[in-house]
């Protein structure tokens, strides 16, 4: 049994919220730099080069990459030999978000009730996903999510007979409809299988997979590559103003499902695809 003080979780989450909003992870930064070098459209190239400057300014002057610093999504994989002390884990996570967003000059974008819509003024609560794994470590992933792209995300409850072609059509439809609203170049997270909520959660988690790393299942890897090529053939381009770079990656996760169903979740993210991971 390993004891971990929840204050340590708070401190890490606070730092990770600030880090995620000012520095892109290396995989994303590399993908953006490659896109800026290879885009064919002159206006598209200009936009991608502005986004390169934007990343530089964000890191050097500590100005968030985007003013929508997101709703904080936190994945916590907790080893089952860990015991937390010093308070409730969920409170510690939210305290980390509170400190990160207030002390880090991040925007507070969360309303307490979806219809009454009063701002909580500290960006809490986050959306927290716990899972229990083996061992005595805690893996924390913080992924602040902007809503320009979140609003364009979709769930399709396909029929099994629609098969892989139905899945492709669903992803392309979501991306086409998102267009300029989702701040392209986008990253597309897809969850296939499971249940209604499972496919959405897989799609969300797929966004946090390193850009450039493919699924280990051969046919899924092929599907990722085919979809990326077809999405980049849509012509939407950087900022939606035309070009070849509409998406940087399509990441797909799969799970067993029911004989009667084929759920597909498509979570769309912009080029500010923030994810920071720490293991403690």
């Amino acid at each position: 049994m390993r004891e971990i003080k929840v204050q340590e979780i708070t401190r890490n989450i606070k730092e990770m919220c600030i880090e995620a909003n000012h520095f892109l992870s290396k995989d994303m930064a590399d993908a953006m730099a490659n896109a800026a070098a290879s885009e064919e459209s002159p206006l598209g190239r200009q936009i991608l080069s502005q986004l390169q400057d934007n990343l530089k300014i964000a890191g050097e002057d500590m100005i968030p990459i985007c003013q929508d610093t997101g709703m904080a999504v936190v994945f916590l994989e907790v080893g089952q030999d860990v015991h937390f002390e010093g308070g409730l884990l969920v409170d510690a996570v939210n305290e980390g978000i509170r400190q990160g967003y207030t002390e880090g000059y991040l925007r507070k974008s969360v309303v307490r009730d979806p219809l009454i819509r009063e701002n909580t003024k500290d960006n809490t609560p986050g959306v927290i996903h716990f899972s229990i794994v083996e061992g005595s470590r805690v893996r924390i992933k913080v992924a602040p999510k902007g809503f320009g792209s979140e609003n364009m995300s979709r769930i399709f409850m396909l029929k099994p007979a629609e098969g892989i072609e139905g899945v492709k059509e669903a992803v392309l439809t979501a991306v086409r409809d998102a267009g300029p609203n989702a701040c392209p170049p986008m990253v597309i997270g897809v969850g296939i299988g499971g249940t209604f909520e499972k496919c959405a959660l897989m799609a969300k988690e797929a966004l946090t997979r390193e850009v450039g790393r493919h699924s280990e299942i051969p046919y899924v890897k092929e599907l990722e590559e085919e979809l990326l090529a077809r999405i980049n053939g849509l012509g939407i381009g950087p900022g939606g103003l035309g070009g070849r770079t509409t998406a940087l990656a399509v990441n797909i996760n799969t799970y067993p499902t029911h004989i009667a169903g084929l759920p597909v979740g498509v979570n769309i993210c912009c080029h500010v695809n923030r994810h920071v991971v720490r293991v403690i």
Binding site: N54, Q67, D68
Partner: protein, 183 residues
């Protein structure tokens, strides 16, 4: 084409702007997003006056992150314009000159743009740090209680934007994507 304009903007200037023009904007603009639009609509429905006269003015759909000490504003890029579509035709009919945002507009908004010889610009979404450098001054004008959603008066210098929908209704989002589709 590259153009430099000053705002507020008159119809004689909007008319010369064409979808696809790359424009640098200097002058005074105002922020307003979801909550401010809703409140303006409620004010109008009660028959009261808005906090400012929109004639020839420019709305920037934007809610900034907080400013660090010594800076006028935090990160300050555009938000999705379509969420304001429901309110926009009425403001255009009251003389609103231009809007800066990102993303598609509804057919009703496009009609109102044509009817009023207005213009819709896109700024680059997700470039909030860069765009903040073009803002030299920021002060809350109204609805302070809305926090990041308050109406702010901004002074901007060479703020980069692209004409997406011009006063004739030409729409760059449609024409530009077609040009690169299927390549």
């Amino acid at each position: 084409m590259k153009k430099y304009i000053t705002v507020p903007i008159g119809k004689e200037v909007s008319r010369t702007l064409k979808a696809g023009d790359y424009v640098y904007i200097t002058g005074t603009i105002y922020t307003a997003r979801d909550a401010a639009h809703k409140r303006m609509k409620e004010t109008l429905d009660r028959g009261e006056n808005l906090p400012l006269n929109w004639e020839g003015q420019v709305i920037y759909y934007m809610g900034p992150s907080p400013a660090r000490a010594g800076r006028p504003i935090g990160s300050a890029g555009p938000t999705t314009a379509s969420r304001m579509d429901k309110y926009t035709p009425e403001l255009l009919d009251m003389g609103l000159g231009a809007m800066i945002g990102k993303g598609k507009r509804s057919p009703q908004v496009i009609e109102a743009i044509i009817r009023n010889r207005a213009v819709y610009f896109a700024a680059v979404g997700g470039a909030g740090a860069l765009l903040s450098k073009c803002i030299t001054k920021s002060e809350v004008l109204a609805y302070e209680d809305l926090g990041a959603e308050a109406i702010r008066r901004l002074e901007v210098e060479n703020f980069p934007a692209i004409v997406v929908i011009d006063s004739e209704g030409n729409n760059l989002y449609e024409t530009a994507a077609q040009e690169y589709a299927g390549k």
